[in-house]
């Protein structure tokens, strides 16, 4: 029954928005860790390697997890 439930959950109806938000959170964590260890902002390919995902997914997920107020934080910080 566990198998069937997993099958039902993975039947391809997962919305992209949810999946991207989850990846977006991982990107934020990886960015913070890499910024510390490299002492600079990591490149997009460094993030992709660290998370073992494609740079395409990094671009999509970074946008999906964007905090709407971040524009102002960036400017006024």
């Amino acid at each position: 029954i566990g198998e069937i439930q997993r099958f039902i959950r993975d039947d391809g109806t997962v919305k992209v928005s949810r999946s991207l938000k989850e990846t977006g959170n991982k990107i934020r964590r990886a960015r913070d860790e890499l910024t510390k260890s490299l002492s600079r902002s990591p490149t997009i390919s460094e993030i992709a390697e660290a998370l073992e995902i494609s740079t395409e997914d990094v671009v999509m997920a970074q946008e999906a997890s964007r905090n709407p107020s971040s524009i102002h934080e960036t400017v006024y910080e």
Partner: protein
């Protein structure tokens, strides 16, 4: 509401990924499923790669046009090049047919497009470039899944 985008980009393989993500980002507005998005991205890859490899023989000075129009759950994608064109379209669209098997092309590009999209049409002729039109009905698909 009708929403459209038209992209013109250099015919270099690096832009295959750009084209895929651009279409995916455009589609974010209809919040597709992961599977739907993967299918559309695959189809765009196949068509754009064909234009780069077969249409233009990797001529980085040339351009590819990619359009997407969304209207009431219907997605129309058009990929257009002004390259060599195709002389025998039915033959080109046959599964496993490739005019460049030496490049380890699988000959499955058009088959994949037909499989993942609801409608596929090809307009082409020797020296006339190639226009691939791909249609997918989103709303219908979504109703089925919910």
């Amino acid at each position: 509401m009708r929403n459209e985008m038209h992209i013109r980009f250099s015919a270099v393989s690096e832009n295959e990924s750009f084209a895929r993500v651009a279409v995916a980002a455009f589609l974010t507005n209809v919040n597709p499923t992961l599977d739907e998005l993967t299918e559309i991205k695959t189809v765009v890859s196949e068509a754009v790669t064909n234009s780069i490899i077969h249409g233009y023989d990797h001529d980085a000075e040339k351009f590819i046009e990619l359009s997407a129009v969304l209207e009431e759950g219907k997605l129309d994608i058009v990929v257009r090049d002004e390259g060599h064109g195709i002389s025998d379209i039915p033959e080109a669209m046959e599964p496993l047919y490739s005019s460049k098997p030496e490049l380890e092309r699988s000959g499955m590009g058009f088959t994949i497009m037909e499989n993942f999209m609801d409608e596929v049409s090809v307009e082409s002729g020797p020296g006339q470039g190639t226009v691939v039109r791909l249609t997918k009905y989103f709303a219908a698909k979504k109703a089925l899944c919910n």
